[in-house]
């Protein structure tokens, strides 16, 4: 019945012939510098159905002065210096862009740095699976996407083989160009496949790119101005291209240079798409929708990589309703839902909300009395009041200490092999959570800590100082949500990080040293016994063997002194960088929604763009504005309509898993699930630990919850082992996927079977009090599922019970069935 009502309430699906309401051109103004430069324009129309679509191909284009010409669809090439207006017309609507042209007739020879490197990129020669790979291909190495054009120039003009572990050239140096007979150059003959080429034909003989390379060779193969501004960033318009099935959208790529000028790179970029079943993309950057869904376009040019989202919508809905918004989160989410013509599920019921918010904020199920009270309350603000109560509860402190003990790796093995060190580190985390310490302060202390202070212990896995690359990689992953590890051995194939950048970042940790039991940063201007043992404190680049100096990713200048702590400067830079706020809010968001705006939450990269970039930015800005207050962030998320959406799908969002149109059910973490079993059965778990004082091993005091254990991995627990507790040897990646061992444990494991026959539990107490069957059923439903059984369930339960002669045994089986159910084991 509920489903029928839902369908009736949905707007009807229709494909209206929408009218153009307005038109705009992008960019609104542009400067074209030099004879070789061009500028791509787009026309975007707003339709009567509220949608915006690319109509570049459909519009009529005209330039009002003969200083420029159209060379393709809305692509303008210069003829003479001056200004002109470009006009687009469609269905009676008009839009204009201003064009300014300079140096239109100045001689501009082809250079390697700009034209040739661009061709190598757009033709895919220097991508990660070809010559841009770690070792290159066929002995020919190019930097990925022309990241290092000077190196590429050398490999092409001088020849020789690349080696990963040394900068020495391998083998005889045979140039890939022949300046006396340019057409015989390997660079051309291989690319045109006139000489055997494993990569096949990349250039057409007499094609534009072929001609450009040939002209460059005939001109002596100049590198170009070595001091010319370098490309620092690519911007893509639009950041999210939304189109209906079989619709098209053109991309506009703008390159930003180090001298602050910009150029159109739309036709000098390489386009690839993550999911080719959703859409395809042409070499000119035109996307064609294929099926409903979302994916990303990756754009590479001159060593830079950027991405844009692509959304293919279903049939437009008529009368798309105005959606409820509790705060800015809902504004962003609703906006995209509307653009994608997806309706969010109904608001979660009180029961659904109560269970979800208790698990998400405290890892604890609400007791039956509180469930009854909440469900009965008619207070319109009861949800926000509950959120405040939970955030202020000691259970919140327990739970988030547990979560951050996971992320920050509280572990006897990871913390100097010392139970004391591990305990002090855990206490530090707990104190930070309890006092709601601003998260940037927490991060700064953890990154830069010295001496014997508690967080310093995490730099001592197995009691030895962590290597610079491990230490850096972990901080970047935890606080920047990025994984730089690939760049340790070579330039990152799916990201802009170079090997040099990796080691530059690692160098901040290279002087970290274990002096006795303290962690310190060795001064650069002091020997302190190093020469006594023929040692060195320098961090050497694995390939060039040169000493590496600390350098941050954006090359910002940091005030590093010879006797200072370089990690302190790094920590300041990291916590003031936008990456810090956006990765933190994304991690917390991922906790509440089972999916990050960037997912996985610690895998930010250009090739894995956010589903809601504006929301991510807004959440980050709000986090900074509220002084990195995690509780404020959680409160904001929990109060949103988006969070309080039901997990039950409707006809428009059944396939949606990225737009938060419905809550995604997910498995409960091992420790939380074990505590839930304990709470429902009313029988505490006994946790024995392997930590000994030499006389006996320890045991957690009675009533200790699994989430209160400092290092769960040091406690014997078959349940925690089977359900995926983290050993925290590395930043944990928990998997809540069920497995066969769990199924066997459900049937025969002590957590589910022995426990039910123990005295003093919830069932035993109810039986001793003479509770009737319905009371027992209801009590357990409330405890386990945060809802009372519905009439059908109650009737079924009574019927089953009536068939059994041993009432107590039957009720034990009922409890077993309840805590074995998927509804219990999931947060939904």
């Amino acid at each position: 019945m509920k489903l029928i009502l839902l369908l009736c309430a949905l707007p009807t699906i229709a494909w209206p012939a929408a009218k153009v309401i307005s038109l705009r051109t992008v960019p609104a103004q542009a400067t074209i510098q030099g004879a070789r430069a061009t500028q791509q324009f787009l026309a975007i129309a707003k339709f009567s159905d509220g949608a915006e679509r690319d109509v570049t191909a459909q519009a009529e284009w005209r330039i009002d002065k003969p200083i420029a010409k159209l060379t393709g669809t809305a692509r303008v090439a210069p003829l003479a210096d001056g200004t002109a207006t470009l006009q687009a017309t469609l269905a009676g609507a008009q839009a204009r862009s201003l064009i300014k042209i300079t140096n239109a007739t100045a001689s501009q020879p082809v250079s390697f740095r700009r034209e040739i490197a661009g061709i190598l990129t757009t033709r895919g020669c220097n991508n990660a699976i070809c010559h841009g790979g770690v070792k290159g291909q066929g002995g020919f190495k190019l930097s990925a996407n022309a990241l290092y054009p000077a190196d590429d120039y050398d490999w092409i003009l001088k020849g020789g083989g690349y080696q990963v572990l040394t900068s020495e050239v391998k083998g005889e140096r045979i140039p890939r160009v022949d300046l006396k007979n340019p057409q015989q150059s390997l660079l051309l003959s291989k690319a045109t496949n006139t000489k055997p080429h494993a990569g096949g034909k990349r250039l057409e003989l007499d094609g534009d790119d072929y001609k450009t390379i040939l002209a460059w060779l005939q001109n002596g193969a100049p590198f170009g101005d070595k001091n010319a501004a370098s490309l620092t960033r690519l911007d893509i318009f639009p950041s999210m291209a939304v189109m209906p099935l079989e619709g098209q959208h053109r991309l506009l790529v703008t390159a930003h240079f180090s001298d602050n000028h910009t150029e159109d790179y739309t036709h000098q970029a390489l386009y690839t798409i993550n999911d080719g079943e959703v859409a395809s993309v042409s070499a000119a950057g035109v996307i064609t929708a294929k099926r409903r869904g979302e994916t990303a376009i990756l754009v590479r040019a001159a060593g830079q990589l950027a991405s844009a989202g692509v959304g293919v919508t279903g049939a437009p809905l008529t009368n798309y309703p105005k959606l409820t918004s509790n705060n800015f989160i809902d504004d962003h989410i609703n906006d995209k839902l509307r653009r994608f013509q997806i309706l969010p599920s109904d608001p979660a019921t009180d029961s659904e909300f109560l269970r979800r918010i208790c698990l998400d904020l405290t890892g604890t199920l609400p007791p039956p009395a509180r469930v009854r009270e909440f469900l009965a309350s008619r207070d319109p603000s009861k949800r926000s009041k509950l959120i405040d109560a939970l955030i202020g509860s000691p259970e919140f402190v327990d739970y988030w200490t547990f979560r951050y003990a996971d992320l920050f790796r509280v572990s006897i093995f990871a913390n100097a092999l010392s139970a004391k060190g591990m305990a002090e580190y855990w206490e530090w985390i707990r104190n930070n959570i309890d006092t709601n310490r601003p998260y940037d302060e927490v991060a700064r202390e953890r990154i830069a800590i010295e001496g014997y202070k508690p967080p310093s212990r995490h730099f001592l896995p197995y009691a030895v100082i962590a290597t610079p690359q491990e230490a850096m990689g972990e901080q970047v992953r935890v606080f920047f949500g990025r994984r730089m590890d690939c760049a340790q051995c070579h330039n990152h194939p799916y990201e802009n990080w170079s090997q040099d950048q990796f080691w530059g970042m690692a160098a901040f940790f290279s002087r970290m040293f274990r002096m006795g039991s303290i962690v310190m940063d060795h001064p650069t201007n002091m020997d302190l016994g190093t020469k006594d043992v023929g040692g060195s404190m320098d961090l050497l680049h694995p390939r060039t063997k040169a000493a590496v100096k600390p350098a941050v990713l954006d090359n910002a200048k940091l005030a590093i002194t010879p006797e200072g702590n370089p990690r302190r400067e790094l920590a300041r830079w990291m916590t003031s960088h936008p990456y810090f706020a956006e990765s933190t809010v994304n991690r917390i968001w991922g906790h509440f929604f089972a999916r990050g705006i960037v997912d996985p939450v610690d895998d930010f990269r250009s090739t894995n763009p956010p589903t809601h970039p504006e929301l991510l930015a807004a959440l980050g800005a709000d986090f900074v504005k509220h002084r990195y207050d995690l509780r404020h962030l959680m409160r904001t998320i929990a109060n949103s309509r988006t969070y309080q959406t039901s997990h039950k799908p409707n006809s428009t969002n059944r396939d949606d898993v990225v737009n938060y149109s419905r809550a995604l059910p997910r498995g409960i973490d091992a420790e939380v699930l074990l505590d839930a079993v304990t709470d429902v059965t009313g029988l505490p778990e006994a946790f024995s630990t392997a930590i000994t004082d030499g006389a006996t091993v320890g045991q957690a005091p009675t009533g200790t919850r699994a989430i209160q254990l400092r290092d769960p991995d040091t406690f014997y627990s078959r349940f925690l082992e089977l359900y995926g507790r983290a050993n925290r040897g590395a930043v944990p990646e928990r998997s809540n996927k069920p497995n066969l061992s769990q199924a066997l444990h459900l049937l025969a494991g002590s957590t589910y079977t022995d426990r039910l026959s123990r005295p003093n539990g919830r069932l035993a107490k109810l039986l001793a009090a003479g509770a009737p069957d319905e009371t027992i059923f209801t009590e357990f439903y409330l405890a386990a599922l945060t809802r009372a059984p519905d009439a059908a369930e109650l009737s079924e339960l009574k019927s089953v019970l009536a068939q059994r002669t041993d009432r107590e045994a039957a009720l034990r089986e009922f409890v077993w069935a309840l805590i074995s159910s998927r509804e219990f084991a999931e947060n939904h």
Partner: protein, 564 residues
């Protein structure tokens, strides 16, 4: 010569004789008492059968044994060694000075190891029978100050106590262990001891559970250092008036019959009742560097030289010239604060640098000095660098003492800082003594607690000592007060070879040359059996130019000759 062969003969006899197992006292419960009162306690141990008396060693109390019984075994439990329970009656003198006093039991197997009885000025309360493992059955503390003795009798046990405070009141909680760390070496994880921890709770309740306790303070010592107590100490100021609870448990939840504790709660911020006594070890950070140090060191080297008093200089950021010997005194109160001083060497000299940091020592305060030579290069520091035997990885550690020869003449600069760039505190006080080297005997360590010697047998005692600053004299060790029939002779013990380290760097700058004297104490077959312990004194002296020097160190211990 006769005595030597006799001793050897006795030793060979001893090897074939049946081994007598020493009595061992494991714990006393309760182990604290108020002066002017009498209380009963149970001492738990092994081989205590026949205990007849207690040797309180000049303690301000009298102890009588009221009974001995074997500890009943719990069903299903087996033990290799039976445990005895000795019931003691302790009467403490009204004028007793508060503190720890060791006691030993005298049994037919000899004298036991020592365990302390704590004398307090406060009334003692004993944890009532029954569980106190929750808010509902917490032991009520009616007034403060208070001392409660209790026991964590099994693994996972936690005892709760409740008390009332006024708003803004500060309390000091101290938790003394009845099974303190006893071993002298080895890994912290393998040394049997009861390491207690304190947690303070507010019974604030929560949305989930109105009886839920809110954890508001916790303490455990952060460093596990061999020989230092692991007792917990916590000072907390309560914002709100009301009832609170304190939870007592062992670190990581161990427990057992020896896990006795004494909980002391006092008003105000009080220092721990235990504190480090200044060390005399040359290489300890806490030994006092006095103006008479050169004279005292000379005495330890067997010389009666009178050295002039050492002048103390205030440390400054700008180089301050000093004349050796000199003590530089300063505080690293700001991060990266650095102090400098200069001195001249006009003829080749062997110099020693000694750090003292009275309020905080490594790993909390890490004083570092660096010596810059006349040519401006770094000549030395107090960082001992080496390469490990396994991986060859470089290791470094800070040393309180550094010695080195200075052969280059001219002006030297000493830079002093905290090793880390970020740490500083008003407690980071230091004194750095720069002086000529004085050959002397450093640390002397006697490896003996008590000796039970069956007739016709002998046992060895090791005495370890350090030769400091090229001390070349001998070290004499004598045993005084031996009873009739008992003698002491010199011997040599087996010393196993060790793998040579890969690279110990400039070890001679940072470590003393350690040696060992072995004494064998033998009881003749007809030596009279002891009824009471004899107090034996071991005395170590230097011997230079044939002349015995002043006493370097002495240790008394009880000895009993056991009849067959």
């Amino acid at each position: 010569m006769y005595a030597y062969w006799a001793a050897l003969g006795l030793l060979s006899l001893a090897a074939s004789a049946q081994t007598r197992v020493d009595p061992r006292a494991l714990s006393i419960h309760p182990f604290t008492g108020q002066r002017g009162t009498t209380f009963t306690a149970k001492l738990r141990g092994t081989n205590l059968a026949g205990a007849s008396a207690v040797a309180p060693n000049n303690a301000p109390f009298q102890i009588t044994i009221e009974g001995i019984e074997p500890e009943p075994l719990e069903p299903g439990i087996t033990r290799r060694t039976p445990v005895d329970l000795v019931k003691l009656r302790v009467t403490i003198n009204p004028d007793a000075k508060p503190g720890r006093y060791p006691i030993r039991l005298i049994t037919r197997n000899g004298i036991s190891n020592a365990l302390p009885i704590h004398v307090s000025e406060h009334a003692q309360n004993i944890e009532p029978e029954g569980p106190h493992e929750s808010r509902d059955n917490a032991v009520r503390i009616p007034s403060i100050p208070a001392v409660f003795t209790g026991k964590i009798a099994r693994r996972g046990e936690a005892d709760y106590y409740s008390f009332h405070v006024a708003a803004g009141q500060t309390l000091t909680f101290e938790l003394l262990s009845g099974l303190p760390q006893t071993a002298a070496g080895g890994s912290a994880a393998t040394i049997p001891n009861f390491d207690p921890a304190i947690t303070v709770y507010e019974p604030a309740g929560s949305w989930f559970d109105p009886a839920r306790l809110k954890r508001i303070a916790y303490n455990d010592e952060p460093v596990w250092v061999i020989g230092k107590p692991t007792d917990a100490h916590l000072v907390h100021t309560f914002d709100k008036a009301g009832d609170y609870l304190v939870r007592i448990e062992s670190f990581a939840g161990q427990g057992g019959p020896d896990y006795s504790y004494a909980l002391k709660i006092a008003s105000g911020a009080q220092p721990p009742s235990w504190h480090d006594t200044p060390g005399i070890d040359d290489r300890s950070w806490s030994r006092r560097i006095e103006s008479t140090r050169l004279t005292k060191l000379a005495e330890r080297g067997g010389k009666q030289d009178k050295h002039p008093s050492i002048e103390t200089y205030r440390a400054t950021p700008e180089p301050t010239p000093v004349k050796l010997p000199a003590t530089i005194e300063g505080t690293i109160a700001q991060p990266t604060e650095k102090h400098r001083t200069t001195f001249r060497i006009d003829k080749p000299a062997d110099i020693a640098f000694e750090f003292e940091s009275p309020n905080a020592a490594p790993p909390f305060f890490n004083p570092l000095f660096r010596l810059i030579g006349p040519a401006g290069d770094e000549v030395a520091s107090n960082v001992f660098a080496g390469r490990g035997a396994c991986s060859g990885a470089m290791t470094k550690s800070l040393q309180a003492k550094t010695i080195l020869p200075l052969r280059e003449l001219g002006e030297y600069t000493v830079e002093i800082r905290e090793a880390t760039a970020d740490l500083a505190s008003p407690d980071f006080r230091y004194r750095l003594l720069i002086r000529p080297q004085v050959p002397h005997v450093g640390r002397v360590q006697f490896e003996i607690d008590a000796l039970n010697l069956p007739q016709g047998q002998g046992k060895s005692i090791r005495v370890n000592f350090d030769r400091e600053e090229d001390y070349r004299g001998a070290v004499i060790v004598a045993a005084e007060g031996l009873p009739p029939g008992v003698s002491a002779v010199a011997a040599a013990d087996y010393e196993p070879d060790r793998d040579p380290p890969q690279n110990l760097g400039k070890r001679e700058r940072y470590t003393a040359r350690s040696e060992r004297v072995v004494l064998v104490i033998t009881a003749a077959a007809d030596a009279p059996a002891s009824t009471q312990p004899h107090e034996i004194k071991l005395v170590a002296r230097s011997l230079v130019d044939g002349k015995p020097g002043a006493v370097l160190a002495a240790k008394t211990f009880p000895l009993m000759v056991l009849g067959k």
